[in-house]
Symmetry: C2
Subunit: 150 residues, 2 copies
């Protein structure tokens, strides 16, 4: 009965299909955690795999690491998260996915008419001004703030 050995960073990286540097990075950002062995090497609990999977899944949905971190922080600290814990996250993100899909559908439906239309000023262009609130959770680094939201 050895004291729990945990996995090394290389193995985890391999199983997750990410680079070691990514795991270092996530740890630095507080998205995953590890303990160290005698020789200062990282050891991981096996649930890190699910964490990384979830991080990657959420990223695909366009959620930033920042927001993912926030969501993950809702998981219990003291015990290994169970299925129910994870499903809370899933439901949460499902919602924002629904919103995003609705947003894109709206965009799609106005795209053709809009690009062809006569609105030479973006001030009145319906596509340009399509509810920016929704776009905030949108396609990553969109830093523009067209209509003076303040």
């Amino acid at each position: 009965m050895s004291v729990k050995a945990g996995w090394g960073v290389g193995k985890v990286a391999d199983r997750c299909g990410v680079k070691i540097s990514t795991l270092h990075f996530y740890e630095e950002k507080g998205l995953i955690s590890s303990w160290r062995n005698q020789g200062n090497q990282r050891r991981y609990q096996k649930d890190v795999l699910r964490r990384v999977s979830v991080i990657k899944a959420a990223q695909k949905v366009g959620i930033s690491l920042e927001d993912i971190k926030t969501a993950l922080s809702a998981l219990p600290e003291n015990r290994t998260p169970d299925t129910q814990d994870w499903e809370v996250l899933a439901r949460h993100w499902r919602k924002s996915l629904d919103i995003k899909i609705a947003y894109l559908e709206k965009l799609r439906d106005s795209l053709t008419g809009c690009i062809g239309c006569g609105c030479l000023s973006m001030k009145k262009c319906p596509i340009y001004n399509a509810d920016d609130k929704l776009a905030k959770e949108g396609p990553g680094p969109v830093l523009l703030e067209p209509m003076g939201s303040e």
Copy 2:
């Protein structure tokens, strides 16, 4: 009948709701163009407004400037693009929007089950491996290439 005066960069920026630096940037990237007046100041044709609108609309859909540039290069050089020219673009992007929406719907439909599921290895996770081809046009800077697409 003065020789066509065109618009100054400040006016265009104002009408488009973007910063002057953005127009400089777009020009540098070859997305828009201008000529210079006597004093080396930029002058724009009025169709630059539509160009910028289209650039911004496309960005909202998650298309990169790189791809937008490619699409814009299909516009006629010699004459001012007409409605039909623009509609070709719109149709093109509508298609990729359809694809993206379908992708997100697929993600959404597997999200809950997937996060809660027992796949501890991302190698077999359906959400992680949901057709990466579609994700390529996806949420901006997603640089990961999980399943060795080459």
